[in-house]
């Protein structure tokens, strides 16, 4: 019976010569991970039993066995992270599987020149993720105290009768809500601009809702930066400096990395 090939990623051939692949368990938790030479690259793979890991079986597992999915997702991630710590790596998506080695070669053949360029471009660079969270209430307090627009409105209202003042106060609440959103996006854009100066490339991603993050604060920014290794310390210092300056306004900045270059390995 033929073995399926699970593909984790590609690394430059010369890097495995000086730094051989460590022993790592494969996707089935039985076999080992090994490399297959493809031109001047190495594909990092493991074999899978066709009977156990058919398309149908995998589909069934990913839909109905969440525990399995979690375990395998973590396996994929940890393997990719270990490879990324040792080598320049094009990371692949979860469950990229070929029927056999020939099929892997056939798929890579027309793309290998682009892949080599991507690998060259990934050398000595890292991917970092920034998430910004905001405590809306804290920022609202800050806005209602310090915003000139709100302050002017408040003074205007002070002159009114108590009945009208009530309705005008409601308007102020709405004004504060509008200001809050404006302020949040403006501050996030500014932070991004400041951090982006260290990056070669950046991507802004969508924010997750509270159900996804499980946090009290709102996520108001999510972006990834691709930068050369020597810029990383500068990025971190800048981030900490910005965070400190915004602490009292309810912002939290979270930088994580280095990630495998998931967002910057596209074969454009």
């Amino acid at each position: 019976m033929e073995q399926l090939i699970y593909l984790y990623g590609f690394i430059p051939e010369n890097e495995t010569k000086s730094n051989p692949l460590p022993k790592m368990k494969g996707f089935d938790d039985k076999g080992s991970i090994y490399t297959v030479p493809v031109d001047s690259m190495e594909a990092v793979v493991c074999g899978l039993d066709e009977r156990e890991f058919s398309e149908k079986a995998l589909q069934e597992k990913t839909e109905n066995d969440m525990e399995w999915l979690q375990q395998k997702a973590l396996h994929h991630h940890h393997t990719i992270m270990d490879l990324n710590n040792k080598y320049t790596l094009i990371p692949l998506q979860f469950c990229t599987i070929y029927k056999n080695k020939d099929r892997l070669y056939q798929t890579v053949e027309p793309k290998k020149e682009k892949m080599k360029n991507v690998l060259e471009n990934l050398k000595e660079k890292e991917e970092w993720n920034l998430k910004i969270y905001c405590d809306n209430e804290q920022l609202k307090d800050d806005i209602s105290q310090y915003s000139p627009a709100i302050e002017a409105k408040k003074q205007e209202i002070d002159q009114l009768s108590p009945g009208r003042r009530f309705f005008e106060m409601k308007k102020i609440d709405r004004l504060i809500d509008d200001e809050l959103e404006k302020e949040k996006s403006q501050i996030c854009e500014e932070i991004h601009e400041q951090l982006n100066q260290f990056a070669i490339e950046a991507t802004v991603k969508k924010n997750w809702n509270k159900e996804m993050t499980g946090r009290q604060e709102h996520m108001c920014w999510n972006s990834v930066y691709f930068l050369s290794k020597q810029m990383v310390e500068l990025l971190k210092d800048k981030m900490l400096q910005i965070e400190k300056s915004l602490e009292k306004r309810g912002f939290t900045l979270e930088l994580s990395g280095p990630w495998p270059a998931y967002h910057f390995s596209d074969l454009k």
Partner: protein
């Protein structure tokens, strides 16, 4: 540096991992076509799984006979309430 260690120590949220491994890194396609729901659906399913395991552990820690008799009692009250309602408002 604590920032740099967060990913290296693998102390990273599952949602971040799913986000990149399910939706990114599509340099080349495989032969097997497995359609996996978006990161949000998968993640929420996993959250349900994690919280149901937590609940299971919690209820095991408590005296389970008390819980079940309480549940039984409330179910009985609901049932008798429903029955008396249907008697007052016959079809």
């Amino acid at each position: 540096m604590p920032i740099k260690e967060s990913v290296e120590n693998k102390d990273i949220a599952l949602i971040d991992i799913l986000d990149v491994i399910l939706e990114k890194g599509i340099a080349i396609k495989g032969d097997l076509i497995i359609s996996i729901a978006g990161v949000d659906l998968v993640y929420l399913d996993l959250r349900v799984l994690i919280s149901s395991v937590e609940k299971l552990v919690e209820s095991r820690e408590n005296d389970s006979s008390v819980i079940s008799s309480q549940q039984f009692d409330s179910q009985r009250r609901e049932l008798s309430h429903a029955t008396s309602e249907s008697e007052r408002w016959p079809d």
